[in-house]
């Protein structure tokens, strides 16, 4: 190989005149509608991908606002009802000295979702514009976003478990607030948004 020393130029399936399956990775000749191996619908590039990414991202952002403004947990302790929002809960935890838990909640409920919004928006933008980050790195970023997205649900799980466990009538009672639903929707929407992204588009721009 004469050019083994230089960085190899990635040859995309499209550039090779083929169509790759996004599910199993098998390449087909152009014109094939269904993957001969796994039966998934195949296309060279999904034209509506970016559009769908933006749509879901936008939906996720919309529901993320009430998720932060409305109470996440409604705690009734000895007849005294306390509403706590996500950020209010973090502040309360810090006040109580539970820095570890506060950090977990803060990262899972605020840092990760916000980062996800930013990352997905960046990736979607990078398809149409030239960005400084290399395609390889952007692909890694995409993998990370897709992997970590589900972990944002940890907050929703906490609320769900607490609500079902702590039902001690007058003594103590915890109920989910409207923010729990909003937050769950927000996480779901951003996950769908990430799923909608056609990662092959990263390489198309790189190839030009």
């Amino acid at each position: 190989m004469e050019n083994a020393g230089s960085a190899p130029r990635v040859l995309t399936a499209k550039a090779a005149g083929l169509v790759g399956c996004t599910q199993c990775g098998r390449v087909h000749a152009p014109g094939v509608a269904l993957c001969s191996r796994c039966g998934a619908a195949i296309s060279s590039r999904d034209g509506t991908s970016v559009q769908r990414v933006w749509a879901w991202l936008f939906a996720g952002l919309v529901v993320y606002i009430p998720a932060n403004l409305y109470p996440m947990l409604r705690t009734t302790l000895l007849g005294k009802t306390t509403d706590s929002t996500i950020f209010g809960g973090v502040v309360d935890l810090i006040h109580h000295g539970s820095y570890g838990v506060a950090t977990i909640v803060f990262v899972a409920s605020i840092v990760i979702p916000v980062s996800k919004f930013i990352a997905i928006a960046y990736l979607a933008l990078s398809v149409e514009r030239k960005v400084s980050l290399s395609a390889h790195r952007r692909h890694v970023l995409y993998e990370v976003v897709e992997f970590i997205g589900r972990w944002s649900m940890i907050d929703v799980f906490v609320v769900a478990i607490l609500s079902s466990l702590v039902q001690l009538d007058f003594a103590a009672q915890i109920n989910p607030g409207i923010a729990a639903v909003s937050f769950a929707l927000s996480v779901a929407f951003t996950m769908v948004s990430a799923q909608s992204f056609d990662s092959r588009l990263i390489w198309d721009a790189d190839g030009e």
């Binding site: 034209g47 749509a55 919309v62 009430p66 007849g79 005294k80 929707l185």
Partner: protein, 701 residues
Amino acid sequence: MSDPRPAEMEIEGPKRSVWRNLSLVWLVPFAALAVTLFIAWQSWAERGTRIEIRFENAAGVVPDETAIRYRDVSVGFVEDVEFSSDLASVLVHARIDNTVAGSLPADAQFWVVRPEVSASGISGLSTVLSGVYIEAAFEPQTGAGATAFEGLNETPLVKPGMKGTRIVLRASDGTMLTAGAPIFHQGIEVGRIETPRLLDSGKGVIVDAFIDAPNDRRITTATRFWDTSGFDVNVGPSGINLSVGSVAALIRGGIAFDTVFSGGSPVPSRYVFDLFGDEASARDSVFSESIDNAVDLVVEFDESVRGLEAGSPVTYRGLKVGSVMALGAFIEEVQGQQRVKLRASISIDPRALGLSPDAPQAQTIAFLAEAVQNGLRARLAAEGLFSQALMVELAEIPDAAPAALGIFDTEAPVIPSVASDLPDVAATAEGLFQRIDNLPVEELMDQAIATLASIENLAGDENLRSAPGAFTALLDDARGLIGGEAAQALPGELTAAVSELRGIAEDLRRADMVGKLVETLESASAATDTVSAVADAFSEATGEVPDLISDLRGLTAKANEMELDAFIEKATALLDSADRLIDSDAARGLPGSLSEMLDEARAALAELREGGVVESTNATLASARDAAAAIEEAAQSLPRLSTRIERLVAEAETALQGYGANSSFNRETVAALRDVREAAAALTKLARAIERNPNSLLFGR
């Protein structure tokens, strides 16, 4: 192997417009946006109306946590708490549900419910754990929608919207009135009072009270309220009357009411009632003030009306028929002389006289006029045995001077009065004791004691014991004496005296029998017993004197005729009999019976004094009357007794004078006889005193 073909030409159509290219996915964010906006709008719309409540302090009120409750249902939450601009009060801002806020009238009451422990119970216990809340009470008015309110410092006793009647009570002082004190009717709590407050004039207290429906229809113009708090002790002719309300009423005070006469009309709200100190005065207050057709009369008195006052009862045969309305004096000119007369205005309730409740005044006056013709008079009377208070008594006096109801055009009719015979009980009782003390009974006893002392002296005289020493002289005298004829006659006289003494003793014994009839006079009779016993002893002793004298005589005779040894023998016999006299039971029993008699006399006096208590006097008065008769009977024999004693003493004296000796035996015998005579005189005095007025022993008059 063929050459790699060039990639197929990718042919794209004309670029579709942006709108044609839109994916359906875009519906999702817009739907999310719509839902979010809807939720935001809804919570905005449902957050309620902001109201402002002004409190003096906001103890325990926490923003976002303290709820506003109406009928124990949460209708909102406190949003924030801040000071008024002048820092004089606290403004609590709260959000109230729109369903409620629209009906809030401006006079809605808000107060902070805190845990509270009082005599009537514990309230607000739930707020210990959950924190305070603000309770609202109001009468909903659709469309009122007030937003600024004055908060109350404490729980109002009467909340708006409660059904019942609000009244006002007027009292002279508020000592027993505490806020929240219950109002009872027939022992059932039917309402409560609020905080008492001073009248503007400062002379009295008024307090708002609230009677719950449906019991508020018991409140009419005929209703009277009185204080039931604390203890109520009445000491009256009927004894001691102690009434205690419920324990709660004891601590908090309480008020009771009752309808005291029929025919009251319903009262409007805020009707003012007087609060009376006790039930009796509340009920008494009804007289004349509530009777439309009460008849006013005037009574004129010449005597002092001290003890009579406005409100004093007017009674007829012991039944209260009215009350004294006013007292006054006026000057009457009688035959050119000005005299002050006292005039009492009285009011008579025709119903109490048995007339129809709506009898016209003229009918009542006519009835009274006829009664006056038949002897009805007014006079003053004491209200009770020991009471200084007077009342006006309408009495039928059969032999009253004829008079008529003085009917004048301008003034109330004048009912004629007669002088009262007010018994001064205290003075009478005192006088009774004094007169008992003054009775010659004590004198008599003194005399008896002196007599007995003399007799004792006589008996115990050493000269008598050492008679032999003085005998030579005595014998000399006796010789001369016995030689005389008078001495010869002495024995017969002595015998007569003794038999008379026995008769006295018999009489005394009879008197004793009479005395035993009456229990009250039992001790007196015991004293009489002792007197008779003394007399017996005396007569017994006297009975032996003749023996002694006859021995003396025999001794003297023998001394004249016989030898010395015979004389000595006789002298010994004389001494023996003298010893017998001294040792005789009667003589020995004298001091004992003396002290016995004294004890009994003392007991009799003590009993008389103790017996002076009115009750037992009353109880014994009946039997005393019988006793008086018996005493009279007994007393009749007393003069006879004393005459006899006197005669006896005279005879004895005469007899003893015959001895003509200066010996102490003679002197003391004479002294003893003198005492006996004095005793007899005292007896006579007593007999006369009793004869003059047999009741004096009992009544001291």
